[in-house]
């Protein structure tokens, strides 16, 4: 063949693409987590950095190892494994020992993602699979939450934990402002609602995540807990407290909106958001675990294929014109 002859490219239309790519989306999501991470470091000290570094290295590492082993192609540097690592760090207490992080990363990448066939194929959010796995398997480690600004490693319960064990009375004195800024015990990323909101607002602006899911998620929790607060304020905490404590914000803004495990259509996203909120509130109010966000999201993840199938968008031309 004549090497100097230049062959024209033949391809199907369209002859153009947006500049988006999978790794760009993943990396942007990772970048928007920086403010929340900064607050975590401020509150929990260098331990938060340690957890973050370990989860990131382990998650990317496991993805790399699995890419050698499985029969399909894995692009371990596309940012998705890194994002899983960062989000996993945000779901763990900063006091997590290294082996816990190792197991958590393996579960997230292996069991949460690659057994289903890799990126895009997993039914459940890998990070939350890992978190629920760890909560069930290691109840001791996952209930020791470091106290804010106590860089000495002393631990205590989260506000929700206090609520569950000691009742509403024990909560007097916690100010909502402190909670919103993140001055409470909790896992690395779940503490500062405002910075998470900041990051997510950018993602919503970039249309990487749908606003319906977090809005309805948080709204449903607020309404549901509000109803019970109005019925009996001595037994149930007020809805604003529920809104700003625990993993509700990171769950609603970053976990429930995960592209792979949330519905494709607007209608599906609305049902998904309300469902997540409902289950979170039910678990928080009546369940045996103090926090229900991760269970609720994993539960609703299971419904996503059904939502996709039975709540499609209206097809053009389905209405007969008179």
């Amino acid at each position: 063949m004549d090497a100097s002859k230049q062959l024209l490219v033949m391809d199907s239309s369209p002859q153009g693409r947006v500049t988006e790519s999978t790794s760009k989306i993943m990396n942007t999501v990772s970048l928007t987590l920086i403010p929340a991470l900064a607050v975590s470091v401020w509150v929990f000290g260098w331990d938060a950095v340690r957890v973050l570094a370990l989860t990131s290295v382990f998650c990317v590492g496991f993805e790399w190892l699995l890419s050698k082993w499985v029969s399909y192609k894995i692009d371990y540097m596309d940012g998705s494994a890194l994002l899983t690592g960062i989000l996993l760090a945000m779901n763990l207490p900063s006091s997590s020992p290294w082996w816990l992080i190792l197991i958590g990363s393996l579960v997230a990448i292996g069991l949460g993602k690659q057994v289903f066939g890799g990126l895009g194929q997993n039914i459940f959010n890998p990070v939350l699979v890992s978190r629920t796995f760890l909560i069930i398997s290691f109840p001791v480690e996952l209930s020791l939450w470091p106290k804010p600004f106590a860089y000495d490693g002393s631990t205590g319960a989260t506000p929700l934990g206090v609520l569950k064990t000691e009742g509403v009375g024990a909560l007097s004195g916690t100010s909502i402002g402190d909670l919103a800024m993140g001055q409470m015990g909790g896992s690395v990323g779940e503490i500062s609602a405002l910075t998470l909101l900041l990051g997510a607002a950018y993602l919503i602006y970039k249309q990487y995540i749908a606003w319906e899911v977090p809005a309805l998620f948080i709204g449903t929790v607020f309404v549901f807990t509000g109803i019970f607060y109005l019925i009996d304020p001595t037994t149930y905490a007020d809805p604003v407290f529920h809104m700003f404590t625990g993993g509700l914000f990171i769950g609603a803004l970053y976990m429930a909106t995960d592209m792979v495990t949330s519905p494709l259509t607007k209608k599906g996203r609305i049902v998904f958001g309300i469902g997540c909120g409902f289950f979170t509130a039910v678990i928080r109010l009546f369940g045996s675990y103090p926090e229900g966000v991760s269970f609720a999201i994993v539960l609703m993840n299971g419904f996503v294929p059904l939502l996709d199938k039975y709540l499609p968008d209206k097809k053009f031309g389905m209405v007969k014109n008179g």
Partner: protein, 272 residues
């Protein structure tokens, strides 16, 4: 021991009632199934390839038993198996020779120049939506492997931009034939190794320009053939396998190497 007697009587009576119910049901709801269907199914290769046009081997067995004839034989089974199936059905089966799929093209990228840098979906039909050919010859094998994908017996492979068929692995099921958008796969008897490896019906000069090993319709093969087995129609030679005796004279005489012996392909065209 009155207790055990009562228990025995109760259970026994219950058993009696139940069994009469079963008896009634077995008579009332009996469905006759020809036992030969199972026999035939067991004789069949069991690959469930679908080459016969039925949904798997048992569906084919049901068909042949119901029809009581072997007019459309299992394309994969050898003649011995078909004879056995014939025995089950009480039929005489003429032994038929194994057929294999054969590509009527030798337009490797060396012979027929690639005309484009195709970057769409790796499938011949998908490529046909973008362009009618990928090579200089409009009749050539596209070399994207729709048939390779479809072959259930791993008998087809891509080599140098065309499909190469392994006669030993090919069972002659014929699944690949309709998967070719260029319609250049056909069946030939296993023992007849001489094939025309071209499907270009353009005039000689145009065909030659498109591919170095194209059939130019020069009629030399037709003249040399003593068995009246090869004919040129529409500038393309075609072998009648009922008459071909594998004498290989046409192979020797072909000026463009467009008649080839399977298993001994000449890959580069002769300089004419």
């Amino acid at each position: 021991m009155p207790d055990i007697v009562i228990a025995g009587l109760v259970l026994g009576g219950f058993a009696l009632i139940s069994s009469s119910g079963l008896l009634y049901a077995s008579k009332k709801f009996y469905v006759y199934e020809d036992p030969r269907i199972e026999e035939v199914t067991e004789l069949l290769p069991g690959a469930n390839c679908g080459g016969c046009g039925f949904a798997g081997c048992s569906a084919y067995a049901e068909h042949v038993v119901k029809e009581g004839s072997l007019e459309d034989p299992c394309p994969v089974a050898d003649s011995e198996t078909m004879a056995k199936i014939g025995e089950v059905l009480g039929l005489q089966v003429e032994s038929s020779e194994k057929m294999v799929a054969s590509l009527m093209c030798h337009g490797t990228v060396q012979n027929s120049e690639l005309m484009m840098d195709y970057e769409g979906i790796e499938d011949c039909w998908a490529a046909m939506l973008v362009a009618d050919t990928t090579k200089a010859c409009a009749f050539a094998c596209l070399g994207l492997g729709s048939c390779v994908e479809a072959c259930p017996f791993d008998a087809m492979h891509l080599e140098n931009g065309i499909v190469v068929i392994d006669d030993e692995k090919c069972t002659g099921c014929g699944i690949c034939i309709p998967t070719c958008p260029k319609n250049i796969l056909h069946m030939r008897p296993y023992s007849k190794k001489v094939t025309v490896t071209c499907n270009n019906t353009d005039k000689g000069a145009d065909a030659r320009k498109a591919c170095k090993v194209a059939c130019i319709g020069c009629m030399k093969c037709e003249k040399v053939c003593e068995d009246d087995a090869i004919h040129v129609n529409n500038f393309l030679a075609k072998i009648d396998y009922n008459k071909c005796t594998n004498c290989e004279k046409c192979v020797e005489v072909c000026p463009t190497n467009s008649i080839q012996i399977r298993g001994q392909e000449v890959h580069v065209a002769a300089d004419v």
